[in-house]
Amino acid sequence: MLEGIPILTLLILLPLIGAIVTLLSGKDPKVAKSLALVFSGITLIVSLVLLLSFNLSAGGIFGQNYQFTEQYQWAKSLGISWIVGVDGISAPMVFLTALLCFLAILFSWDVKDRTKQYMGLMLVLEVGVMGVFMSLDYFMFYVFWEIVLIPMFFLIGIWGGPRREYAAIKFFIYTHIASLVMLLAIFAMYFQANLGTFDMRAIQAAGSLFPNGFQMGIFLALFFGFGVKMPIVPFHTWLPDAHVEAPTAGSVLLAGLLLKMGAYGIIRIAMPTLPQGASGWQWLLLCIAILSILYGAFASLAQKDLKKMVAFSSISHMGMVLLGLATLGTIGIAAGSFQMFSHGLITAVLFMVCGVVQHKAGTREMTKLGGLAAKAPWLATFMMIGFMASLGLPGLVGFAAEFTIFFATWQTWNYLLLIPIISVAITAAYYIWAMQRTIFGPLTDKIDVSHLRDVNWFEAAPLAALCAAIILFGLYPSLIFDFMRPAASGLAGLLGVI
């Protein structure tokens, strides 16, 4: 039904046009907001169409068979083309991108300062993330990868918290260094393949013949480049700063989408192109994954700031993605990809809740909060759903993902599972303790709560939509799993593991 329609290019162009129109719109913030919402809304609808018309039964080798592929010459002299395409891993991520951007724009309805620029930057960010998830050309991929940095730099730096400037510059430079290391690795693969093209598919096809030492070295460089974005311990220090200072919608997109780009890069580029590198460094992936999971969990336990706790929990949950990928097997990779999707939904709820708390109560310090449920029952409900989903309550989306990851870990390493699984207990502990200190118990007297109100409509709507998605995909995980499993099994086949 979509013959001849360049749907993927459209998904990049729509937010781009939206951004330009929004930035050029007049002085009225209402107009800017509505324009941004309309454009991201159309993008969401198109991405839903994409998801629904995706052919689940199309098989083929991983990384060679994409759907909705488009290819146009871009810079012939260097072998650069505009190639877009999606497979079972990226199609759900494209949908997640459109969904979160739309909801984040809706959630920012009350931004008062420089509304026009804010909305424009959100849409530019959407362009970048979309491009990363569908590029099949290294040059294009890198361009979009870097485009993402610029709007995020401004979002943190202009609309962020008290230490926003420090956080913005740290985020920018830290992730830019990682990108440059990735760029070096891309050059190395380009010249090693010596095909005169930056086409990912062609380089991947040549990749399995790269000498072992080369694969090991370049995989490490790519892993660093992508890992900083994920982020992996010990390269995570930019994340708590960026998150704590970023405006709520910025945090939602940062945690919900930008972190996924790192994991996606490992799945799309590092593992299939350098299979020997992946199996050679499997132990490192495992160690880093476990380290991130446990470090993130323990660090969350120690936080007093609600948002900082959620930020550290992201490190732990992205470690879970890496754990799934490290098994190099079908189930592990599929579950890791699913965890990307599920964490995107959950973390969006968590950051939005933090934003609401900050907004209504004026503080996120858990020691000063307490008993908010009495005053703001809806806020408390959303918070509970989000926290429960994140700690892995069966029936919600987080459980489906994490359970499967642990299952795959058991299959691969047996009793080693005992180490990462400790984190389940710690995660439950910090979330439940956080709820006790913020929404339950006697109403706090440390802050003025007389004007404390429940969520507004523009906050409730995205939260409700996300909670509905969390429950829906928790009850029917196969809705998304069916996309990811064939691709994952193809990747596992490339890696020589079934």
Partner: protein, 489 residues
């Protein structure tokens, strides 16, 4: 009968330059003078375009000058620089004395650069460099009552004289050792010398020092920040985007063609100098508080990036060498627009009474939104953020080093790419800091009134930077054509 057509663009520019003071005298109008100069530049540009698209190459004056894809491309770059410098000057020098001479000198300097681009032997090369140097000394001193400007001009003149003397000494040593001045003839004579002549070592040292001053590579960079800061800012734009490129062409011609046979003696040394230059430029730029000095140090760093071309362009494999040289040419092209554009923005803001301290840029997005946006584009492009021109050219330039490092015996070139990439990351800090001041901090709220002339000049640069970044292909192809022509005997 000598066919003058190849040198017509340069001759015409020089001719118009000599007429312009007369125009000033007759019309008594600064605007008319500026517009007459613009007409000369545009006419010259059209002639070069014609040559560039004809694709033929042709030598004149006993093969002393040659117009081909390489020289035509650089002439176009120099003319574009002159174009936006003159447009910006329409407002910048308005109401000052001696504007006729100002425009004439700008055009003479450009004509000198064009001679360097066309030069095929050491003599014409030196003559071209001197035409440009002498014109730019007086341009730097243009505001003669300004103390800082006078100091800068004196410094520039003394250092420039020294560097001319050194390079002339080097040239005479080459002539003494080989008996030749033509680059190709020098190359074969040097190859025939077999083994190392100590005279040539001395010549290499002298030429590196002499031209090194011109392009401000370490350790000959100390004059650049003072001169860039003290000169009228439009002239700073020309020095950074025009004169500097001219010095590189001189280095390219002497080393890549003339001294290729003894590359073992200099390529590693130049590589080390390149790394030192980019590192020093970037590290010192971080601590600068004057925007012009910061841009000057960033210029030094960029010279370091371009310098890595010299060792790459002499590797054994001609395809690789050509790819590497094309990357260098491409980066010189984009740098001419982004660095020149940044200086023009500084000049435009200075005429609107904004200071040149970084603190003065606080909250600029409210005071001059378009200028703040343009500056952001220029700075991000300099830092190499896609999809801007600086990224595209760094992409080709740095990948050239990795391409070359695949060859046997040239593995060390990889370190040039690594150093350049680390430096790119460092540089982001000071570029992003200015953006932070402009957008993230709040400053005074009053609007700045920017003259339309600056708007046009800046728009030329912004359009070029975005266009080259998004559609790099025709530009890369032009640079590859130029690189191919460069190696032709």
């Amino acid at each position: 009968m000598i066919d003058f057509t190849p040198v017509l663009p340069a001759m015409m520019l020089g001719g118009v330059a000599l007429l312009v003071p007369a125009v000033r005298m007759l019309t008594k109008s600064d605007k008319a003078t500026g517009i007459a100069s613009l007409a000369g530049i545009v006419a010259s540009m059209l002639l070069v375009f014609y040559w560039f698209y004809n694709g033929s190459h042709m030598a004149v004056f006993e093969n002393m000058l040659r117009i081909d894809a390489f020289s035509a491309l650089f002439m176009l770059i120099f003319l574009f620089v002159a174009l936006y410098v003159v447009i910006a000057s329409l407002r910048f020098v308005d109401g000052l004395k001696h504007t006729g001479e100002y425009y004439a000198l700008v055009m003479l300097a450009t004509a000198g650069m064009m001679v360097v681009a066309m030069s095929m032997d050491l003599i014409t090369l030196f003559v071209g460099i001197e035409i440009t140097s002498l014109s730019s000394y007086s341009l730097v001193a243009f505001r003669k009552k300004d103390k800082l400007g006078a100091e800068a001009a004196t410094k520039y003149f003394i250092i420039g004289g020294l560097s001319s003397a050194l390079s002339l000494f080097g040239i005479s040593l080459i002539y003494g050792a080989t008996g030749q001045v033509n680059f190709q003839a020098v190359a074969s004579a040097v190859a025939a010398l077999h083994g190392m002549d100590p005279v040539l070592i001395l010549a290499i040292v002298m030429i590196v020092a002499g031209f090194g001053f011109k392009v401000a590579i370490v350790p000959f960079q100390m004059w650049a920040p003072d001169v860039y800061e003290g000169a009228p800012t439009t002239i700073t734009a020309m020095l950074a985007s025009g004169s500097k490129k001219m010095g590189f062409i001189a280095l390219f011609k002497v080393f890549i063609i003339g001294l290729v046979a003894i590359k073992a003696d200099w390529s590693m040394m130049i590589g080390i100098v390149a790394i030192a230059t980019m590192t020093l430029g970037n590290v010192i730029a971080i601590s600068q508080t004057s925007i012009k000095r910061m841009l000057a140090y960033s210029s030094i760093a960029q010279a370091g990036y371009i310098l890595i071309v010299l060792p790459i362009a002499v590797v054994g494999d001609p395809t690789v060498a050509q790819y590497g040289l094309a990357g260098g040419i491409f980066h010189m092209m984009t740098h001419a627009f982004m660095k020149g554009g940044a200086f023009i923005i500084v000049a435009g803001l200075a005429t609107a009474a904004l200071g040149e301290h970084i603190n003065d840029y606080k909250g600029l997005y409210r005071r001059a939104p378009l200028m703040a946006f343009a500056m952001t584009i220029m700075l991000f492009s300099l830092a190499g953020i896609p999809p801007l021109a600086g990224f595209a050219s760094k992409f080709v330039l740095f990948s050239g080093a990795i391409y070359a490092s695949n060859l046997a015996g040239e593995q060390w070139l990889l370190w040039l790419a690594v150093a350049a990439i680390i430096n790119s990351a460092i540089s982001l800090y000071y570029y992003a800091r200015v953006v932070k001041y402009m957008y993230l901090d709040e400053g005074p709220k009053d609007k700045l009134k920017i003259a339309p002339a600056f708007g046009v000049a800046v728009a030329v640069c912004v359009v070029a930077v975005i266009l080259i970044g998004v559609f790099p292909d025709p530009f890369i192809q032009a640079c590859q054509e130029a690189a191919k022509a460069f190696f032709l005997p």
